[in-house]
Amino acid sequence: MSTIGTTSVPRLRVGVKLSFDHVRETHVLLYPEGVLVPNKTAAAVLELCDGVRPVAEITAALGKRFTGVRSDDVLDVLARLGERRIVEWT
């Protein structure tokens, strides 16, 4: 993978689903043979990963909901999700 930046476009990997579990009252990431519970920040970022929006746009969208959102922090979250094979870059 080349360097990722604010123009990179993340999406959930094939086979990964983000959904809300009403039983546990939390977002969950479901993928082959596994379940992950993302923290609130990760869930907010993942909800915006549609394979179209670049990181800059995701950051801007998050900025409308939360204060002090920086693209570096968003990139950080996404890089970690990439390492866990949740997110890939288009």
Partner: protein, 354 residues
């Protein structure tokens, strides 16, 4: 004690299967078609399981495609918010059937393979299946669904390990599960013919390690060890009644897929008892949950939170006591039972699954 909600449900929709694999872990006595749960029964199982916390549903068997109501069941489980896996031999998986299942929310397919070549794989499956599996793999890839290949390893196919990995790569598998045979059900009958040699296992280790390294990011390789050769037991089910449950074709609810092996265990059925009641309060699920059931050496062992005493079914099958330490453990007073099995001369002939 605090009881966790289950995450996974193994739904054994049917025991009927077109293959005759000698390593089959289903019980010797299979459940007949007319004893299988109805479509409405299964839907109720999935609804109850979701309310209980289940997020992963594995549609398995036998061959789940043998159930004509599979599309209905997949749709129902998906609509509930579950991640739906299909565990299949691939026989009968046409493009039309798979596209329909995918449209109804199927998320992932696990396809079994018996070997790297048609000649070997067909012999091990007891059916002309290999080429049809290759066709099924192509159909799955074309659908865009993630593909896992499941390969059970044993003495009669360990020599093809490198070729199996290459085949998985060729087929574009996203995951490859290489599982040494676990000896339950029919497989236990064939243990002396299936048990890999120490040399085979030693040869496999660097092959798997190099392939995992090389394919990182492209194909995930999961390797399940041959526990008889290990000094410590497997963390079976990550603890009894801790994360998963199995529902057999007739509605019997099992804490582990092999639990019918434990003849002393009183099992409940979803036809008579709500799933939540069974998960939280039944004799079968509470029997070995947590640590209270443990005796020495497990009770005070520093590894009891790592392997939970190993496998209850294996303890029962090899020692006659389901509450004993898994005899695979080098700290078990019964380890000699396992060593004797490993020292026994290999059997040549496999008894194919009837």
């Amino acid at each position: 004690m605090d009881v966790n909600r289950p995450l996974g449900l193994l739904a054994e929709l049917t025991h009927r299967c077109p293959l005759h694999c000698p390593y089959c872990s289903n019980p010797l006595e299979l459940i007949a078609r007319d004893a299988e749960l109805s479509t409405e029964d299964w839907k109720s199982v999935f609804s109850q399981a979701r309310e209980l916390g289940v997020l992963q549903v594995h549609m398995s068997g036998g061959e789940p495609l043998a159930r004509p109501d599979l599309p209905d069941l997949v749709a129902h489980a998906n609509d509930l918010g579950c991640y739906v896996n299909l565990v299949t031999s691939g026989l009968g998986l046409t493009e039309a059937r798979l596209d329909d299942l995918a449209a109804r929310g199927l998320a992932h397919v696990q396809l079994s393979m018996q070997g790297a070549t048609a000649e070997r794989a067909n012999r091990l499956a007891g059916a002309k299946a290999h080429d049809r599996k290759l066709a099924a793999a192509a159909v799955i890839k074309k659908s865009g669904l993630p593909l896992s290949l499941n390969v059970v390893l044993h003495r009669q196919n360990h020599d093809q390990l490198a070729a199996i990995i290459a085949l998985a790569e060729d087929l574009g598998a996203d995951r490859l599960e290489l599982a040494n045979t676990q000896y339950y059900g029919w497989a236990l009958r064939n243990r002396d013919a299936l048990m890999p040699t120490r040399e085979q296992l030693a040869a496999a280790e660097p092959v798997v390690r190099a392939a995992s390294e090389r394919l990182r990011g492209r194909m995930e390789i999961v390797y399940v060890v041959a526990d008889y050769y290990e000094p410590f037991p497997k963390p079976c089910m990550y603890g009894w009644g801790a994360r998963q449950l199995t529902v057999a074709p007739d509605g019997t609810v099992l804490p582990c897929p092999a639990a019918t092996a434990i003849k002393t265990l009183k099992l409940d059925n979803v036809r008579d008892t709500p799933l939540a009641e069974i998960w939280y309060r039944s004799e079968s699920f509470t029997a070995y949950r947590g640590e209270d059931w443990m005796s020495e050496p497990c009770r005070t062992c520093d590894r009891r939170g790592i392997d939970f005493g190993g496998c209850r079914c294996q303890a029962f099958l090899l020692t006659g006591d389901a509450a004993a330490t898994d005899p695979v453990c080098s700290r078990s007073p019964n380890r000699d039972v396992v060593d004797l099995i490993l020292a026994a001369p290999p059997a040549r002939d496999l008894v194919m699954r009837g």
